[in-house]
Symmetry: C3
Subunit: 363 residues, 3 copies
């Protein structure tokens, strides 16, 4: 546990861990103080997500390339998954879907755009391996197709029976998970030489395996407990802050859930290791779209009050489509400058502004 302690000492973000007990204390003493609970939960999730991310990477580093890549690829968005599971258990499907779509958009536009901007302010032109960017944007495109189809069919004039939508959603989920698995085989096994320079090494020293595993287990439980408080308080807190439900799910939850990865992506961009930033941002977006979202649909049959489908609010589908098209157009060349980052951030700002202004009942 010395490693853990040492890391906490050197990383100011982790000092926020001190807030974790206060979340539970506040929940006990004043369960109706939604705004306080919301703020405490947000601040507590950020350091926990950072620990989770580091523990996953440490386990991955110890277990060799294939298993390690697989671990990173499945647990890399553990925070997002746990938050969504908490909302799923409470039957808050709108929040689950908004947070899934919001995480795809936040990773694609905000995380990548801010990386390009931060890197571009320091370096005139930055290059990165566009093969990986293309694989990830292709995966995102496939997932976008899977999201468009149910909405496109449902928007026709006749009433779509919910039985059809559920069967279709299960089918789409299975397809997405299979493609995600084949994508891992492609990038880690059969054509790994094309993805060579991505060098997704963690910046810090990996922990010993036992420390990493204990941290992984313990922190997962903590994130699960805090997420539950977060999900319960977020809607009420939104009203206090004058934010719409759509804005909270799409923007706030997505940014909180991705805070740890953003720190890594931004730091990579400032060190001119843009392959790292692109890999984290687009890889994470693809993972949420092709792994987290379909797993949530399938798990809803087990833990949810009723099955969840893949039919999203048309506005969310349009936003995911815009994010995917932006990433496809922008990463086509494999170069980046500060202005490319500005463009992506502005697209994100437009989406966020729309959701912020959206009158209640809009989603």
């Amino acid at each position: 546990m010395n490693h853990l302690w040492q890391e906490i000492r050197h990383n100011p973000i982790l000092w926020l861990l001190a807030l974790v007990p206060f979340v539970f204390a506040a929940k006990m003493t004043s369960p109706e103080a939604h705004t306080l609970l919301f703020l405490l939960a947000v601040l507590a999730i950020i350091p926990l997500a950072t620990l989770l991310s580091h523990a996953t990477e440490s386990v991955a580093a110890k277990t060799g390339d294939a298993v390690g890549g697989l671990l990173n690829a499945t647990l890399g968005n553990l925070t997002e998954l746990i938050i969504a599971l908490a909302a799923l258990r409470l039957g808050q499907f709108t929040l689950v879907k908004a947070s899934v779509a919001g995480a795809i958009v936040a990773n694609t536009l905000f995380m990548l755009g801010a990386s390009f901007l931060l890197g571009g302010l320091k370096y005139h032109i930055q290059d990165y391996n566009r093969v990986n960017a293309r694989l990830q944007t292709s995966l995102l495109f496939l997932a976008t197709v899977a999201l468009i189809i149910p909405s496109a069919v449902a928007s026709a004039d006749y009433e779509v029976p919910s039985e059809f939508m559920q069967k279709l959603s299960v089918g789409l989920s299975v397809v997405l998970i299979i493609v995600y698995g084949l994508g891992l085989v492609f990038s880690l096994k059969s054509h790994s030489e094309l993805f060579g320079s991505t060098e997704e090494a963690s910046q810090e020293q990996p922990w010993p395996l036992n420390v990493a595993l204990v941290t992984l287990a313990g922190v997962t439980v903590l994130v699960a407990l805090v997420s539950e408080i977060f999900v319960e308080s977020v809607q009420e807190a939104a009203v206090t802050f004058g934010m719409t439900a759509a804005f909270v799910g799409f923007i706030v939850v997505a940014l909180v859930g991705g805070a740890a990865e953003m720190a890594s992506a931004f730091s990579g961009a400032r060190k001119n290791r843009l392959d790292l930033s692109v890999g984290i941002a687009l890889g994470s977006a693809a993972q949420i779209a092709l792994f987290v979202a379909p797993v949530l649909v399938l798990l809803s049959y087990v833990i949810g009050p009723s099955p969840m489908d893949l039919q999203f609010w048309p506005g969310a589908v349009v936003m995911v489509l815009i994010a995917t098209m932006t990433a496809t157009i922008v990463t086509n060349g494999g170069h980046s400058t500060w202005f490319v980052g500005v463009l992506m951030l502005m697209v994100y700002l437009i989406l966020a502004m729309t959701l912020y202004l959206l009158p209640p009942g809009g989603q």
Copy 2:
């Protein structure tokens, strides 16, 4: 006719020709056995389409590059055209449109995707001339615009008079045919050097001209007769198999009509001649979109019970758009691996699955 006989002996697909008389016999004796008629017609069309394709290529090979290219470009999808004409004469516009849109999607996603997968399982990375791919995807894009516009206008809140839609459809059809013709001038005449390596040679020996012409004439008549039986039985058979009308038109008819070209495209991919596969798949899709579809609209004024317009079911427009965008993104680089094929096939699978699950009345 010795050539014909020799070919039949060496190509097991052609043994299915033996079923042709049985189609007509079954039609005489049991006109109500829709499922049997449907299955027999499907199995009989496949070898006939193969013969038709070989006869067209043989005539094309004998008549020199310009006329030959033109012949291939107009008769290359003769099977699809004949099937659609049979449906057009019976006034089954929904089936005509579904089979046209389905053929574009099947050629773009299934034929090209399966070629990439089959080739990629044998070769690590395959290259092809992307100039031709770009021309064909640009043509497809133009056709997609022509399909989107009527639906986009019609989806506005006010009622669009059918007179407007018919005038617009005739205008669009003329534009598409003109662009298709100019595209032939561009690729066969003015800038043919850019399309050099496409080497669209038929794999077998061409037949003598008289054999080819007689085969072309005779088989066209047979395909026309069998297609009529196929179109009459397909809807009833669909009910028996539990398939929706949308699925039959979009998937079954398209795959049956394109069987012969698929055999050529797949065989090209296995021989590392991917230019051949890309040329057949995308060239055929472009031909259907810019030549077959508009010709059907114009012919509907002559042979149909009433004029057919170019307004497609919105879901079909979305699917054609998805297919065109997938082809544009995927063929941008001019390289292919097995995973690219998987991605395209999965997009096709998503569309097929949606249509299969679609409740009746969905189209």
Copy 3:
């Protein structure tokens, strides 16, 4: 004024200036002769726009690169801005929006397509600096996102309050203007070396500064007066010619407003200076989308009878999206042939034909 006189003698287009007094005379004597007024106004705006364009370039040439670039970038579409302002003052928001969307589409598809065609008929293959094309199409893409979002939200089933749409429109307008400004910093300052070969020199000798400034001031007043007559007469004249309101705003006004720039773009293409044509066409489209349109929204709070929002007719949004996608796909390679020009012109023809046939009430 000798310079001015000399130019008029050598440029036959400017001989149309003789019609300017007749416009005002006709307005006085027969204010109800809408068709005559419309035709006179169109013919008078074309030479005035040419003078305006030359005066702006002359001022820009005298004031050095940074200020000159800025001037060109803000006053380059002065004619379009003045026409739109005249319509804005009269509260004709539909005409304003149609002319803005129409100008984007006309510059992107017609001006660029005709340049490619005219150049391609003379030269086998033409190359141009695709960095600038990419910047402009990226800016157009951002503007398209800003146009899609309000319509996408408004097309949902619930009623969107106009207050929301106005707040959103102001926010979007501010974002677009900021991005436009940062784009100028990027292309003129921080990364100007990437845009080197664009050589946007005017073909003729620049005028002395005092001649240019006086011309700029005088002609601006004249354009404003003639535009008012044009806007007042255009709708009535449209009825006479059997044109729909949508066609007039989208096609006629856009082509009249852009006549001067088209002359420069086409002349550049015939001289194999395609960088000039691409710069004018796409640069002008981006300027209208990211500068003229948002300025009009903000100015509507000052000079309009009521505030104008950024919510466009869905058909117009689809057309702008099609134009942006066409430009993105086509300029990806940095090469051009006559057939690329044909494709773009045909896309424009499809849009124009649809608007021409659209029954009244369609917009």
